[in-house]
């Protein structure tokens, strides 16, 4: 054993070195390290000792070369939309706590399985091509995609390239690709029911952009629920999920319907803007006007008063995305599936 230590000059020990030290063949050491089928326990022990003695660590590149697996997946944040905006720092996107929650959920699921996410960012045609090339080169076994804008071409490109991928939300156009999403209609219904239960009589809504499926669903769900409560017509202004659009929408709503006493806003950021506008106009929240948001983002807590909102289980959804992706990688012929989560009402002070 003392003469076992091979040259070990400079570079790290290889399977061959361990095999020599243990007095067995390379194949046997490989068997011990991996699936361990049909190896004599005594020899297993010898091999393990040799591994410890040599300080052997398997080389992932060599392994990947033959297994055609890397044990890594790409976590792609796609489409700040601005094709023009030359932003070298994708800071805003990553700084959004929503992204952090997604990352946390994914890492939480993947880590115990020895898989790690590679952080990528794609907002231009060039960077999208980069992501695609990266996956084709076999740097990662698949991709989990979080799109920030609706008409992101990446999902389609991934499908066409036959690369395993899972989306965070239902794609605008039907695509044979798995995704997770939240029951937007059910969430909107929670908001409607809550406003009605509070006693609101003249209720309006600020929706997200109609190009986004989630916006459509939230609006439709809200209308349907209100219709059940006997209110078939709901004043409505379309926003674009941004703060300024929320301001403008609330201003218009107040101008056209000064007597409203309840508003459902399709995301928290616009709701935050709406609160400021309402205060500007001397409306007390929730006494004069009750406001319900959507997302339960960090903006909800930063609001004055804190925002009543609809929460999606982002971490669970992210973990599910990872689970679906691994399943697709394992079994490439598997059909695309969707997993839809149930949202919950978080009551704070704004409604």
């Amino acid at each position: 054993m003392s003469e076992g230590l091979p040259p070990s000059s400079g570079s790290s020990p290889t399977l061959e070195d361990v095999a020599r030290a243990a007095g067995v063949s390379r194949a046997t050491v490989s068997r011990v390290i991996n699936g361990i089928r049909n190896v004599d326990p005594a020899i297993q022990e010898t091999v393990r000792k040799a591994i410890a003695a040599t300080g052997y660590v398997p080389n992932q590149a060599a392994r990947s070369l033959v297994t055609r697996r890397t044990g890594a997946i790409a976590l792609v944040v796609s489409g700040a939309g601005d094709e023009s905006g030359e932003d070298p720092f994708p800071g805003q996107v990553f700084a959004d706590p929503f992204f952090g929650r997604v990352a946390g959920g994914i890492v939480g699921f993947l880590r115990p399985r020895g898989v790690h996410p590679i952080l990528m960012f794609a907002e231009t045609a060039e960077t999208r091509a980069q992501v695609l090339a990266y996956l084709r080169q076999g740097n990662a076994d698949g991709a989990v995609l979080v799109s920030t804008n609706a008409d992101d071409p990446l999902p389609k490109l991934l499908v066409e390239a036959g690369l395993p991928a899972v989306l965070f939300a239902r794609p605008p156009e039907p695509l044979p690709i798995s995704y997770v999403d939240v029951q937007h209609r059910a969430g909107a219904k929670l908001a409607a029911d809550h406003l009605v239960a509070r006693g609101c009589k003249r209720i309006a809504t600020i929706s997200g952009p109609m190009a986004v499926p989630a916006s459509q669903d939230r609006l439709a769900g809200f209308r349907d629920a209100m219709a059940v409560h006997g209110q078939p017509y709901i004043p409505w202004v379309e926003g674009s999920f941004t703060y300024p659009s929320g301001e403008a929408a609330m201003e218009r709503l107040l101008a056209e319907h000064p007597d409203i006493d309840g508003v459902f806003v399709a995301n928290d950021v616009m709701a935050q803007a709406a609160l400021v506008v309402l205060r500007h106009h001397g409306r007390r929240v929730p006494e004069d006007v009750a406001v319900v948001g959507f997302d339960d983002s960090s903006a909800a807590l930063a609001c004055r008063p804190p925002l009543t909102t609809i929460r999606h289980p982002v971490e669970d959804m992210a973990a599910e995305m990872a689970r679906l992706l691994l399943a697709h990688i394992e079994e490439p012929e598997r059909q695309a599936t969707s997993v839809i989560f149930e949202p919950a009402l978080v009551v704070r002070e704004s409604a």
Copy 2:
């Protein structure tokens, strides 16, 4: 050319296929794809066409096997500290916008260079070992480390393993490892000067934990600057960078020195807590007591009133970390270096 297309059955084309299609050797195709030295322009053109025709994409695993480079680095978030706390979702850490800014800065620098970060999370001995093993297996060429607590053993482990790594802040114990940091003393001086310039006469401070080098520097810098302003003694309470510790510290400060009119708090989260405590005690901010924080985190904007604070250039620092790491990977014998950034005062309403 039309007969060029090789079987291409199932799997993707290899260098060999391209070489056959172009009528040259594998080596020549490799030359064209990489450094392009000494290749006839006409042949280059032929090879390029063959590459396009076959849809060839180099296999990263095969390449890594011989070059011993992966083109990936690990972005390690280390030490939520809680060795016991069995938290499967490292959500809180990633959800912190600070982390997002770091990630953004790193991706911004690495992407143009074709390098990608692998997201890792290490808070227990087991996960630290995982990170180390991961790097040793050659999954990544080095690591960029953001520690959240002072006595993180990972930096030392990385140094001992001889793995290229760069830290986000100066390690508590001296270590031959590169890091970026901010001039904490200069930042504290900015706060001191601002409070004095405002006319504050009875100034106190809430520091971070003394185990953290940054806390020591901020406190020392603040004291030194105040001494220059003729105030050698500054009432001081130690916090631990958390919200509750900020509350407790402010309560104590008010109890012991009810007449204070200015406070420098060593981070924004504690400052946020301090603001709430001050309001509870009927103190107006900034009229009765002016408050300056540190970090310019998202908490600073969520404060009422918005917090005057010290901002570090997090994105720039993160980019510099990435730059240093790539330099170390390129040139392993290179000495450890540090790059220290200048902080800036952000004046809002609290002081």
